[in-house]
Amino acid sequence: MKYLIRKIMFLLLTIWAALTINFILPRLMPGNPAEVMVAKFRGKITPQAMNALKIAFGIDVHQNIFVQYFRYIQNTMKGNFGISITYFPMPVKSMLAQSIPWTLGLVGTSTIIAFTLGTLLGIKSAWKRNNFLADMSVPIGLFLKSIPYFWLALLFLYLFSFKLSWFPLAGGSSGKFIGFKEVLDILYHSILPAFTIVVAASGGWILTMRNNMISVLSEDYITFAAAKGLKEKEIMYKYGARNAILPNMTGFAMALGFIIGGSLLTEMVFSYPGVGYILYQAVESLDYPLMQAIFLFISLAVLVANFLADVTYVLLDPRVRSGGKE
């Protein structure tokens, strides 16, 4: 319990730090979004309109920095992140609300599938070590891990969508359907991008899980479990994998945290309407409010995922529960 409270305190502290840094960073940069807007309108803008823009973006340079800070915190709590420049005059809030579900659906699901699949394959390949097929998992895993993702994605897109026309070329849905058919349409659009993520991400999980598993399998408690006459499956999962997965939990939590940022390359290659795609566009057109909000969300997600990893760790490893003490 004490451990949990300590972790929650730490989470709150880091969230506050992230918020503050997110406030300071854009203010250290020269220029401001309103000026970007002006450039966009090629100077065809009146000073009044310019002022209105500044207020809309929440950059009132005449105000005390502390007042600005408190207003920023207030606005953030309310989910008010200002107005997007790229998609002017859409508020950043609705931009995020539109893109986050796409990203969570695609990147979230495929990250979980990649982790589960990679972990299972890693367990099996460690257990069946010295079997040709099991040992092939190492070069295959290394190959998948080191192949440039955008190249793999482009190759798949070219092959399966362009040449074979099995899958759509771009987008998250065709927008032609409603109801259940729409769900199927969305699923159909997500298969190929999800597949590329799973293929590229599972290689790493296979390798690390195989490594962990091999070192756990040489532990005395594995031999002892065999001496007890336990069934192979029980030794493999309850004694082997149960211990081997512990070091991977942190990595998995980090991966979960980064889901919200979207998979930039995936969403670009497949023109998928997720967070990564709008982040790319925000960067291209110096859309500070949008960038700031996305970065804030990414850091919050990573922090929360880390917190969840710590909590899961406590559930999975009794040694952490007592904090190293009796």
């Binding site: 408690y221 001496a227 006459g229 336990l230 069934k231 009794p318 040694r319």
Partner: protein, 316 residues
């Protein structure tokens, strides 16, 4: 007869390397017998224990010989048949009991799974039986819900012993089960084990590098050197009349229980490397009674007196 080991050869191979850790070992264990196997570190004791129980993992292999458990040749049994024998018919307690418990599972679950892998019992029976086992090894049953890291070394050891006895096996092999503990606890646990044996009637093979620990308690003692059994006799006889110069040397390395104070003598030199082929008697280089024949011909393992076996050219 519970166990018969017949000219067993085992060891480790990797690439062109070979370590011949168990060399032509033969012995028998009767029902209820306490057989002690003593020898220096690295003489193949643990390899012997692992070979007998079929737990030797690559790069370890059994090269030749056979192990008969209650008349059945273990080499002829399938993996599943051996799995069913484990814990129920023979169990093993490891050298490093500190690390034989799964760190993430509760103690009771680790005892339960050994039982439920072999017999069908309901939860209540399981718990009652485990409590009885804990009482047997003098561990309070409040530790049933504990995790391994919450226990002391001695407690873990007792719990592992309790687990090994949980299905009332006919043979328990103990590979240096008390080495990691201090002398006082060692002695207490050993006495407890012996009491349990008398109560439950199982046989024990007790492996240790500490001969003094075994002399009083075991029925029979076997002395291992460089992967071979060099002498085997009833404990009292071996203690009173050690025949092999190595046994004699060992006996002189610890103080007698009674009698005058004497200067203790170790055995000079080192045991031969098991990774090299040994010509003649493996003890020849360190033996104070060496004869020319010892360097060339390996002495046969023969019964010199009734029940007293020795492998030495001094005895014909």
């Amino acid at each position: 007869m519970i166990l018969r080991v017949n000219e067993l050869n085992a060891g480790y191979t990797w690439g062109d390397n070979l370590v011949h850790a168990v060399n032509d070992v033969s012995f028998e264990v009767e029902k209820g017998e306490f057989l002690g196997i003593a020898g220096e570190s690295g003489c193949g004791k643990s390899t012997l224990a692992f070979s007998i129980t079929g737990l030797l993992r690559p790069p370890g292999h059994i090269f030749s010989g056979s192990v008969f458990f209650m008349g059945k040749d273990l080499a002829n049994l399938s993996k599943e048949e051996i799995r069913r024998l484990r814990w129920k018919d023979f169990s093993i307690v490891f050298q490093s009991s500190m690390n034989v418990l799964n760190p993430v599972l509760r103690i009771k679950d680790q005892i339960f799974d050994g039982i439920t892998a072999h017999v069908n019992v309901d939860k209540e029976e399981l718990l009652a039986h485990t409590k009885k086992l804990f009482k047997l090894v003098n561990v309070s049953s409040e530790f049933l819900d504990a995790y391994p890291h919450q226990l002391s070394g001695g407690m873990k050891q007792r719990i592992v012993i309790a687990s090994a006895l949980s299905l009332n096996p006919k043979l328990v092999i103990m590979d240096e089960p008390t080495t990691a503990l201090d002398v006082v606890v060692q002695r207490i646990i050993l006495q407890e084990i012996d009491e349990l044996r008398r109560k439950l009637g199982f046989s024990i093979i007790f492996i240790t590098h500490d001969l003094s620990l075994l002399v009083e308690i075991s029925d029979t003692l076997a002395i291992m050197y460089a992967g071979r059994i060099v002498e085997k006799a009833p404990s009292a006889e071996l203690y009173a009349k050690p025949m092999h110069p190595y046994t004699e040397g060992l006996m002189n390395s610890f103080p007698p229980l009674s009698g005058k104070r004497k200067r203790l003598h170790g055995i000079p030199g080192h045991p031969p490397k098991l990774s090299e082929e040994i010509k003649g008697c493996p003890f020849a280089t360190r033996c104070p009674k060496k004869m020319p024949i010892c360097e060339n011909i390996s002495p046969p393992y023969i019964e010199v007196e009734k029940g007293h076996f020795v492998a030495c050219h001094l005895y014909k």
